[in-house]
């Protein structure tokens, strides 16, 4: 089974974000980046499927040279080879544009399965995977938490809302988007890191000429307007804050 895993590099979860001076995006210069959380789980599931059924795991990422960090890490964890779609602004495309580029790059690979996370932690569109499936003409399932690839058909467990689940079956050429937290992600071993150095990373220089227009334009970004006036207590002193809080909860909020 040939599996392609799509992984995006996003700003570190704990990073303090600052708005750029145009007000249109964050200041990226001094940020640290990491792999998008749910994409990490998509890789883990792909490696487990390969261990069970054999085949190949190909990691694919799109963006400037810094995304090589994500690619090398995936290779060290056990992916067999990689495709890097190179371009400085590729992280800022609309979901349809990203999906079009990715679909073009993957078509000739003709994978049995394409896996990716359920959404990215930066733009949070939650669309790119599904649109790729539509462009490539293959079925898809989103928010998948379990995969059974042992039969002729693929059987996947999807998470619905409020604690409900549902199994779906579909033909094996398919795209799945994976929910975070569904397994324990393996670490890269020293052996894996060494082996990764010899693995192929194929670069594709993407052309955005003649691409569909974006259809959605960010005018400005800003810190969310507060819906509540928060009283911050303790002024950095957690213990003093706790004492004040106990008092306010009793006398002001009267909740105990």
């Amino acid at each position: 089974m040939k599996i392609i895993v799509l992984m995006k590099q996003v700003p570190n979860k704990d990073a303090i974000l600052r708005v750029n001076k145009e007000g249109t995006w964050i200041e990226e210069g001094d940020l640290s980046f990491e792999v998008n959380e749910s994409d990490g789980y998509a890789l883990e599931e792909s490696l487990r499927l390969k261990e069970k059924h054999g085949g190949e795991v190909v990691v694919c990422s799109m963006g400037p040279q810094r995304v090589k960090t994500v690619i090398k890490d995936a290779l060290a964890r056990g992916a067999d080879r990689a495709i890097h779609i190179v371009g400085d602004q590729l992280g800022h495309l609309s979901p349809f544009q990203s999906a079009s580029l990715l679909a073009d790059a993957l078509r000739s690979e003709d994978p049995d399965l394409i896996m990716t996370g359920l959404q990215s932690d930066d733009y949070g569109y939650a669309q790119t995977g599904v649109i790729i499936a539509e462009i490539l003409g293959i079925p898809h399932a989103t928010i998948v938490i379990e995969i059974d690839a042992s039969g002729d058909q693929l059987r996947v467990k999807r998470e619905l809302e409020s604690g409900w689940y549902q199994w779906y079956s579909m033909p094996k050429k398919a795209l799945l988007t994976i929910q975070s937290g569904i397994s324990q992600i393996r670490y890269a071993t020293l052996k894996g890191i060494m082996a990764a150095k010899k693995k192929e990373i194929r670069e594709i220089v993407a052309s955005t000429d003649g691409m569909n227009p974006s259809h959605q334009q960010i005018q400005r970004i800003y810190l969310p307007e507060k819906t509540k006036q928060t009283q911050f207590l303790g002024d950095g002193d957690a213990k003093r804050g706790a004492a004040l809080l106990a008092e306010k909860l009793q006398t002001e909020a009267r909740v105990y």
Binding site: V130, S169, G181, G234
Partner: protein
């Protein structure tokens, strides 16, 4: 010339999803500001009862798009059905609730029109007939004002709770238009939906909840939250990563994939406040957040906040509450 707003009403086995009412309220609000008519669309195999229910709202018409292949949800079936209705109606906007079901098929639908969705919006503003949509990005840390450009239709999904379902305006009985839609090959076969375990813990009735998130760092530290909950006579809950790691059972999970709660007091310990968590607890009476990150989105909805180390704050808080209650 494209005109009007088409709102997608979601149901499961004939029961309307409450976020569909929120979507109707959102569409009505946009319609008021842009002078458009709102029509609703339902997909299913037999929709008579449901169409009547939707027709009680202030809408131009209700389109009941029927086909036996739409008796259960599949992305292939729903996409084909919706595409036909949209091509026939030629709306300016298609408004949908940002549910798991819509997330599953709507990108496929919009792709047939050569575009994506303006997804997971939290509000909309209209100036001179132009709509600006606000999306929450970076897991809730930032908001982005987005303008939708290009040809109609613009596909918009609204986050659960962005509009109030009880504010969807009733009307004098909208016209019901029954159409039979053509559905092509449906490649996926759904089995019946199920619940993993009967929820052993019903947190929806809890008056006080102490919830833990990633910031608690290890399973052994959960005892700190447990003692605080005990001191307050409250229940223990968690955000998703804690239940995924099996530090607490899944029936303690708050958020879009867990329980929705609105206690008198909600204390969030080491929870950053991703949207998926916030939708499950933002209607709580008093919200307290203790977190080391001053930028954590949880503080946007907190009444009281402590920026600092929860391992210092929580034991001190527990002691102080015990003293005051004694």
């Amino acid at each position: 010339m494209s005109n009007g707003i088409l709102v997608f009403a979601e149901h499961r086995d004939g029961v309307l999803n409450k976020t569909s009412l929120e979507a109707i309220a959102a569409a009505q609000s946009l319609a008021g500001a842009t002078g458009q008519t709102v029509n609703a669309v339902l997909l299913g195999s037999t929709l008579d009862g449901l169409a009547q229910e939707i027709a009680s709202f202030d809408l131009g018409k209700v389109i009941a798009a029927e086909n036996d292949k739409l008796s259960s949800y599949t992305p292939d079936g729903y996409t084909d059905g919706m595409e036909q209705v949209i091509r026939a109606e030629d709306p300016k906007y298609v408004v949908m609730p940002h549910t798991y079901l819509v997330r599953d098929f709507a990108p496929k639908l919009s792709a047939r029109f050569g575009k994506g969705l303006v997804s997971d919006c939290i509000r909309a503003r209209v100036d001179n007939g132009e709509i600006t949509l606000t999306r929450r990005i970076f897991l809730g840390k930032m908001d982005a004002d987005v303008s939708a450009t290009g040809e109609s239709p613009v596909f918009v999904t609204f986050q659960s709770g962005a509009y109030r379902g009880d504010q969807a305006a009733k009307g004098s009985g909208a016209r019901i238009e029954k159409v039979t839609v053509e559905i092509g090959e449906v490649r996926m076969t759904p089995e019946a939906p199920f619940q993993e375990v009967k929820q052993a813990v019903d947190l929806s009735k809890a008056e006080i909840i102490v919830a833990v998130g990633r910031g608690i760092k290890s399973k052994d530290n959960i005892v700190l939250a447990e003692e605080l909950a005990k001191a307050l006579g409250g229940d223990l809950a968690a955000s998703r990563p804690i239940c995924d790691a099996e530090w607490l059972p899944i029936d303690r999970q708050i958020g879009s994939s867990g329980q929705t709660v609105a206690p008198k007091l909600y204390i969030a310990l080491g929870i950053s406040g991703a949207i998926q968590h916030l939708v499950g607890m933002k209607n709580s009476g008093t919200i307290v957040a203790i977190n080391k990150d001053p930028e954590a989105p949880i503080f946007d909805i907190a009444d009281y906040g402590i920026v600092g180390d929860l391992f210092e704050a929580v034991p001190a808080l527990t002691e102080e509450i015990k003293k005051r209650k004694a």
